[in-house]
Symmetry: C2
Subunit: 227 residues, 2 copies
């Protein structure tokens, strides 16, 4: 379903090259729950950004279903993101001038469902995340973990077939973090394809597949454990 071949992302920093991704080959089957783990700086967010069509690789290809991301222009990528993906950002990326309800409703502005259905869905997600009292709060009026939960609700509100989550529980206490993992797992059981970047080993129990990354390359569990 998702096919990644020879993926590279190189940044030029003055005289040095930073190989954020150094030749990644990866297949992600439809309906799988993939957990990606690796040290800080190993390339996890970079991989997710490229998968999400938010950036372009230096070389290599990414195919999502029938679509070849490299051959798509900015507009086509925007449509791809809107229709296919729910992206949970490591640093939330909420709009600071909008309140919770506005931030969550933002991705719904293009889809055809009735305004009523959309608002019910938003309300249900907020309730599952314990955030129903925060509809009118703006990001600066909420704690770190509350902002993270708004970012999660926003990513899920369009019921996307593919969910890309970049460290979705980093700012959450143990119990709330577990609630989020359950939600992602339930969505997976209903047929969605989920890719979660995390440092939390508890996420592994929900995975149909674990992948490990070191210095921009995928490695075996053995190599990862010995690193």
């Amino acid at each position: 379903y998702i096919r990644i071949r020879g993926l590279r992302k190189v940044y030029q920093m003055g005289h040095t090259k930073v190989h954020a991704l150094d030749g990644v080959d990866l297949d992600i089957p439809r309906g799988s729950f993939t957990v990606l783990m690796g040290p800080s700086g190993s390339g996890k967010s970079t991989l997710l950004y490229l998968l999400g069509g938010l950036d372009r690789p230096t070389s290599g290809k990414i195919q999502v279903g029938e679509q070849d991301l490299n051959s798509m222009d900015e507009n086509a990528l925007a449509v791809y993101r809107r229709r296919t993906l729910g992206f949970i950002f490591q640093q939330f990326n909420l709009v600071s001038s909008m309140n919770t309800l506005e931030n969550i409703s933002f991705p719904m502005r293009f889809n055809g469902s009735s305004s009523k259905a959309r608002h019910q869905r938003a309300a249900r997600l907020l309730e599952q995340l314990g955030m129903e009292k925060y509809t009118r709060h703006r990001p600066t009026e909420m704690s770190g973990g509350q902002q993270q939960r708004v970012a999660i609700a926003r990513a899920l509100v369009n019921d996307p077939p593919v969910i890309l989550a970049d460290e979705p529980t980093g700012n959450l206490d143990t119990a709330t973090g577990f609630t989020v993992m359950q939600m992602l797992s339930d969505l997976h059981k209903e047929g969605r394809t989920v890719v979660v970047v995390t440092h939390d080993p508890r996420m592994a129990r929900f995975a149909t597949r674990m992948i490990y990354i070191l210095d921009g390359r995928l490695v075996s569990k053995e190599d990862y454990d010995q690193a």
Copy 2:
């Protein structure tokens, strides 16, 4: 050393009042390592901000050594922060136009130590945190965990007697997170007063004292565990 009495922070949101802190009494002995745990939204960052003189309480008092924070004006609070504290922010708060070295050097601009001593100190901290290759990187050119480590180095570069850390390992992998905990513990063993907000139970082993917060109030471990 740090005495908190009747501390309240209330936010007015339209018609509702949010009691971020709902009457906190707390003593933090000099040279202690206090770990504060609580659910997302329970008031941890608020408590740290007030302790750090970054915000004012609605009522109640905070005394740090001889200083009564309520009676200090903005300039006095700025001096207090510069001389006494190292603050590690939950969302890093790095200056996006400055690179790593500039961000770390920023707090050193007022202290009397020689430029050479300061730069050696900055270099050593970066090395301990595995960040020595990132001196010229700006925040947007670094991963989440790398930015977090720069924020940590910045808080420690002035060798402050009091360290306030708000979820300092949330974006770090297990190994790097442990390195940071060790660093804070070593600084504590050298005599500093450390207060760490964390969701990571591994931090407890370094604590001389655990405190628990629920809905803006300090509670016993039993109440916290049953919540």
